[in-house]
């Protein structure tokens, strides 16, 4: 499954877009981070193939780029699921019972935090404060925000995406 997705995104058009991004940025000081962000937008992830191209064009060793990519939690080596569920584990949400929501999400989806379901549908992530503590506990599925959650609502919400 993953390989299939990978093959699809590693196409000529995307690599051409990557070239453009590198071209536009490479003379900037500290170009690596902005390029990685853009590359992840293009490919949905930063697989080794993409890192290799960046490494060659910027003349930075692959090892160093890999080090940077794996250091930051926003960068991902593999594509995320179709629906990315971000459950807020910020302090306000935690104090208001976010852990119980997380437990329920893990049972319902059969995956742990940080994992993607086998069918490539859901990725479960724990986020920090989303800036809407008034709605705690809060969860975001792609862009949609769900607030004042109770564990009992999880099954119903996930059904809409299955």
């Amino acid at each position: 499954m993953e390989n299939q997705v990978m093959k699809e995104v590693l196409n000529e058009k995307n690599f051409a877009a990557l070239d453009q991004v590198i071209e536009a940025n490479k003379d900037r000081k500290g170009a690596l981070m902005p390029i990685l962000h853009e590359a992840q937008n293009i490919f949905g992830a930063l697989p080794i193939e993409v890192q290799t191209v960046i490494s060659e064009k910027l003349d930075i060793s692959l090892a160093e780029i890999y080090g940077v990519v794996t250091f930051y939690s926003q960068f991902s080596l593999v594509p995320k699921g179709e629906f990315v569920i971000g459950l807020c584990l910020g302090t306000a949400c935690y104090v208001k019972g976010a852990q119980n929501i997380l437990d329920r999400l893990e049972t319902e989806l059969g995956i742990k935090v940080g994992e993607t379901s086998k069918d490539g549908k859901f990725t479960l992530e724990a986020t920090r404060c989303l800036g809407c503590c008034g709605l705690a506990p809060v969860m975001v599925i792609n862009e949609k925000v769900y607030g004042r959650l109770e564990p009992g609502q999880i099954t119903g919400i996930l059904k809409q995406y299955k």
């Binding site: 000081k29 500290g30 940077v68 930051y72 306000a92 104090v95 208001k96 920090r128 503590c133 564990p151």
Partner: protein, 598 residues
Amino acid sequence: MELYRSHVLICGGTGCTSSGSDLVEERFNEEIKKNGLEKEVKIIRTGCFGLCEVGPVVVVYPEGSFYAHVKPEDAKTITEEHLLKGRIVRDLLYYESLEEASDQVKSINEVDFYQKQMRVALRNCGVIDPENIEEYIAMDGYAALGKVLTEMSPEDVINHIKQSGLRGRGGGGFPTGVKWSFAAGAKNDQKYMICNADEGDPGAFMDRSVLEGDPHAIIEAMAIAGYAIGASQGFVYIRAEYPIAVQRLEIAIAQAKENGLLGKDIFGTGFDFDLEIRLGAGAFVCGEETALLQSIEGYRGMPRPKPPFPANKGLWQKPTIINNVETLANIPQIILKGAEWFSSIGTEKSKGTKVFALGGKINNTGLIEIPMGTTLREVIYDIGGGIPNGKKFKAVQTGGPSGGCITYEHLDQPIDYDNLIALGSMMGSGGMIVMDEDNCMVDIARFFLDFTVDESCGKCTPCREGTKRMLEMLEKITSGRGEEGDIEKLEKLAYTIKDSALCGLGQTAPNPVISTIRYFRDEYEAHINDKKCPAGVCKNLLTYYITDACIGCTKCARNCPVDCISGEVKKLHVIDAEKCIKCGACMEACPVNAIIKK
């Protein structure tokens, strides 16, 4: 500029956007058109009002009517009644706006939540349209920059900021003017000014609100700082998780450039200053200033040893000043209103105001700004409206993962940098999380340690290994395997890490543990000696029971994900404690509250 009879301010902060203020705005636009009011009523999408709890928030001026929990369909009612006929829609007002006894309507500034507040850093949030530079200018925007460039020397600016007593709001509390003077004194052809918008505290969002609600204030302040220290280039390092803030800042920078307020020869004075945005990528440690520099340069965000300090050797080894968003938001005001004005607010050693993100078990969650020296009791009970559901207050946590807890006895302490430290906590960036009797303090300590272990960059051993060992000990205690002597071991390790870690992350990581042991040792002991969690949080120490109140409706059994509840219809049900995973699904499902956990 056109004149309008009424202004409808719709909150476009993250909290209200999440509760659907986009749709509300759309409907207002439709209704205004339908009623032919386009020339009389102006709709403005603002930054955060602060009272996110009751969002989406809509305020109608000149009356200052404060509508709360506004639904899209309410746009029609408010338009037809209030905007067209001038009758305030009482049913939709924030509950406290309506004085029951006298049937008077209070304006937004008169409700308790805002009365004790004082808005300096947040002054434009919820007041102007952040995507319109003219509105900022109408609020004296860029006047401070003009004054600085035309009337003041860099030394004047630095002295002015020094006199104001402003201290850094990013956590450390270092005097801003003094910091600037270090970089101003450094000789170099290139210097940099950086705004730290990485906002790492997992329970705080004030920097985000300032950037979303008043982005020009940050641009103006950075240009002023750039002039003071002699930097021609600035960077805003902002979390990638804040898309709205990034977008508004991009718009604001473009507008400032168009208007000649950024770029070459600003105000024709020969001063050049340019600004670039750099995105973070989800690493808490990058909020630490030297790690932030590493990240901008394109490396793993690992802190550098200090000295050398960034003011001498910072970004690309050039003299660099790093200031927090909220610190900067104060600067234009200090220039315009004077250092004496600013230093007249607050306590002896902590001047001005501080923004807090008030959250957790409190009625009015949201963003508040108070003069330093306000007591915790005023914040929690007068502004925050107290603890919901008649529960008992237990503690308030400040300073996030670097801070600690403050208990009931200390609620009358005035909030300032030094007092909070004396209480074993700290100001931090301004997260303020209230906890009630249902929160387990050992579990809270475990929560913060879990955070630091996750975010430790791994460069120094005390932090990388030490915090992990502490987390393991806390997990052992919360899962019921605690042994006598564990508390002492935790304390010893905590102080060792504090003394030996490389950066602020490690040095402060043990604070939540030290502080909870200091004030709630009995809770730790209950977990260890009696294998009980008094607050009923730690799962392994709980057992679920069904009491005689059970009516045998079978709801619990049907909702149990592991089928561990048995019983016949209309008869008492029983939970098989061996199989129970303690998820609480049965307790939620029970219509008669017959299920308890102990």
